[in-house]
Symmetry: C2
Subunit: 246 residues, 2 copies
Amino acid sequence: MRPLRQEPIELAPGVTLWRRIADELEQAIALGTYKAGERLPGEVEIAARFGVNRHTVRHALAELARRGLVRAARGSGTYVEPARLSYPIGARTRFSEIVGSAGRDPEGRLIGHGQEAATPDIARRLDLKAGDPVVRLEILRTADGLPLCYTTSWLPAKFAANAARIFRARRSITATLAYFGIKDYRRQSTRITAGAADALDAERLQLSPGRAILIIDSINVTPNGTPVLTNRSRFAADRVELVVES
Amino acid sequence: MRPLRQEPIELAPGVTLWRRIADELEQAIALGTYKAGERLPGEVEIAARFGVNRHTVRHALAELARRGLVRAARGSGTYVEPARLSYPIGARTRFSEIVGSAGRDPEGRLIGHGQEAATPDIARRLDLKAGDPVVRLEILRTADGLPLCYTTSWLPAKFAANAARIFRARRSITATLAYFGIKDYRRQSTRITAGAADALDAERLQLSPGRAILIIDSINVTPNGTPVLTNRSRFAADRVELVVES
DNA sequence: TTTTATTTGTCCGTATGTATA
DNA sequence: GTATACATACGGACAAATAAA
């Protein structure tokens, strides 16, 4: 625990006290005064340093928790959450390369699969007819054991009926597509929205229901434009930052 | 009010009744059976058509509301929300062009501004020293009167001290930069995260606190690489879909 | 302006199947 | 095998907001 320097806060006009304190703490985290996993000083201590009431500090900490910067543990303290992983979104983003080059240990695990009839939406994405058989893979991706996202992938069953078995052996979508003779592919389109985590998201991503998630829909095609794979990924918004390559 | 065709639902194995009904309603909206702004049949009527209890319909409607597809109004009915606006994210995205080409009426209104000292983060983005003066503009952007996002823009005060006055006259960031002699600029970097709407977001974007928002940080540079503008935009996630150009 | 009917929101309850400890 | 917890589904009653008469 590092000491905060004594810093009686001057109130800027129109800015609330708790927000000022939240900003100060955020900056201290950004500057590395408090590092990921470290414990912040206790609420009473922070309050004393800034010369404010403990409730004001609680308000500021609640704001930081809401934004995913810190996590309060009752009876223990308030801890700095790890910084968001920068996740490039481009034509050839491959999960294991991204996470690996950030110095963290990537893992992609198949947590479910099945064969089903394409919904109108999936059929449109894969250039099939509604009702055509497709294979669905559910893949949970973690970095250093912490879930970052899970992806639902659909492939035409026409050529990929046993995709689940292949993925389990090869542990990579790229390698699975290669098995089916698809040596190269690229993202044709990427659409990003956001929402709140439902119970399933919360369980799989190990976060509390209602927290923000980023939803990325993509369509992947071969070099000659044939769609071979469409994904819907759900990211824990607190843990990633999507970087658009341009 | 259009009639739903009588459709006693057959229960697929492992799929709950309320989710089946939510899917049916979602598809009806996607197919245009119910259009944006239209009122769905009442809960009791839907329940009768599907042959289920009203609570089961309520569960399904709550799911659609959570995903931003419909909005319930007590005493009045449940209404279809407008489809998400596709918002391209690229090197030269200009709000008015995007919204205008979607056939909707764009407006950007200055709702606040000021001159302040650059925080370490803002200084880094604009290649300044911490404490250097910067101009901050708060711009609310709407389509057909509905708020889509609000953007906090920072420009070096060195050349843009009166940016607020210029923006108010020219009503466009591009035109404002042109006034300062910057004829062209492009996005150097774009970072996307998500979070929950706080009270300020909710008020400015006219949505309920806690709903999902998309946060986009960007840095804009001249053709020779000098940073001239950095933005933090907060989008109502229910109302837009970011499309990555590739 | 007042009344009335409609519609969503919030309770109370019951029963059943399923997964977990 | 038993007990517990949880989600699902159904039934009813009333409150609160809205809209129309």
